[in-house]
Subunit: 218 residues, 2 copies
DNA sequence: TTTATATCGATAAAAATATATCGATAGGTG
DNA sequence: CACCTATCGATATATTTTTATCGATATAAA
């Protein structure tokens, strides 16, 4: 009965804000600041300080009256909450232009993700190496995922291949899929899918811009 | 007084779901289906049919009892709501690995975005061409944005350059920024910032996976 | 033509999320 | 040492978002 310190349930909204706090906290830390108030964080990010305190409460870290939160403790607490304090191995499928950019991005290791291999369809790409990550033939995906107990899969293949790749991942025991293809994947309940779909964010942008410009021209 | 058909206000949540509807609708259309019920869409995406109806109502498109919604009309209505029925010119700054992937992605034109030029710091990259888009020296950014009345800027430079680039964009009259750098940009009220930050989505994934695996090991 | 029913869309209720209020307290100030 | 104040964190309120209920209606079948 090794009960973790009981923290309040984390809403998805809170979860999405936590990385933003880390961003600010790291900067303040580099400026040698040791304590930060919820107000300061809120100001930096354009949020409400009560909301910041609630979010932080969800990580289990507590502050001190008059002082605020200890930055180091807070960074660690948030990272722990996100499971960013240890890396989870992942496979990426589809070393095309987007996939290659992701393979080359070193910062993911700070965010709990360790891409240990990539897989490809295209023979000419197989055996290539990007950022020390080898590209393997797609046929090996399921077996290797299973043997190496890899739990995260990143999908960067074209839309018409995405469901098929997801199925292979699940067959190999992958439990969480980070999907960049603009398609709704059908997966069993125990598989977590997180869509990183740029078009959703782009839609918000184009809509708001149109509204804003409309208002302007009378 | 050319009043547009009055539609209900669009919440950000709704706005983010609209592209998903388009995705489904396009597929159904390719299967020669002409009408679709809110229930069918909801099933495809794992949503609630009432929510789908509410979202669609926000686009101003109405359905018919017993039949549902006319797919073509619905696609057009959603595109119009997102302002995806015409393209807005954009500049991209930072033709690195992520920037290049975006420059090469043809599908953005279906999503209202037309990247007409890219800008770079690095002399060796200037004058390059990716997907027919020329890479220009960063010094020209503000002037050209102003002269060409470009309203959207895409930021794919390293974190420490992002605020500076944003400032140059705003100086050039850019009104909406699609930001890929993991930093909170400070901009005037009239500028719209939409963050396409992968770490937010990754945090949700790593947290949920950890919870899920924890539950499993008793 | 009449009837049955799938589906919409308006209104109402419930749930989730954000914001406000306020007492408690650590630490600085006189 | 006693007081003042910034800040936390618990509780309460307000707002937003989701989900439920139900009457209206267009189509298809009887
Ligand atoms: N490039 C972007 O900026 C961008 C932006 C948003 C979304 N996306 C999405 O990301 C995905 C990839 O885009 P991209 O531009 O990198 O495309 P891409 O064509 O450059 O890369 C796709 C890669 O997947 C490989 N592939 C295809 N089928 C495969 C299979 N069955 N198994 C293994 N590998 C396979 C291809 O060989 C190719 O290398 C697409 O779904 C796209 O819609 C891309
Ligand atoms: N690569 C990824 O997968 C990935 C994922 C998530 C976020 N990001 C973010 O996207 C941004 C770009 O990442 P990247 O991997 O493409 O980096 P990169 O180094 O490959 O590209 C950055 C480019 O910006 C250019 N640049 C730098 N300063 C500039 C300036 N002042 N004006 C014009 N151009 C300038 C550089 O010459 C370079 O070509 C970073 O902020 C990164 O954190 C990247």
């Amino acid at each position: 009965m090794v009960a973790e310190k009981q923290v309040k349930a984390l809403s998805e909204r809170t979860l999405r804000r936590l990385p933003r706090y880390i961003e600010i906290l790291k900067r303040l830390k580099s400026e040698k600041i040791e304590f930060v108030s919820s107000n300061m964080i809120a100001d930096e990010l354009g949020l409400d300080s009560i909301q910041v305190r609630k979010d932080l409460a969800a990580t289990g870290v507590t502050g001190k009256p008059k002082l605020g939160f200890a930055i180091d403790e807070l960074i660690n607490g948030i990272k722990h909450t996100l499971n960013w304090d240890n890396q989870t191995d992942a496979f990426l499928v589809g070393a095309g232009s987007l996939g290659s950019a992701l393979l080359g991005y070193k910062t993911f290791s700070d965010h709990g993700l360790n891409i240990i291999a990539a897989f490809e369809n295209e023979p000419s790409k197989v055996s290539g190496i990007i950022n020390n990550i080898t590209i393997l033939p797609i046929e090996k995906l399921s077996d290797m995922a299973f043997r190496m107990k890899v739990h995260i899969g990143v999908i960067t293949v074209p839309i018409d291949q995405a469901q098929h790749v997801a199925d292979m991942m699940i067959e190999g025991g992958i439990r969480a899929i980070w999907n960049f293809a603009p398609i709704h994947l059908k997966v069993p309940d125990f598989v977590i899918v997180e869509n990183a779909q740029l078009s959703h964010s782009l839609g918000v942008l184009t809509h708001k811009l149109a509204e804003s410009l409309k208002g302007e021209n009378k």
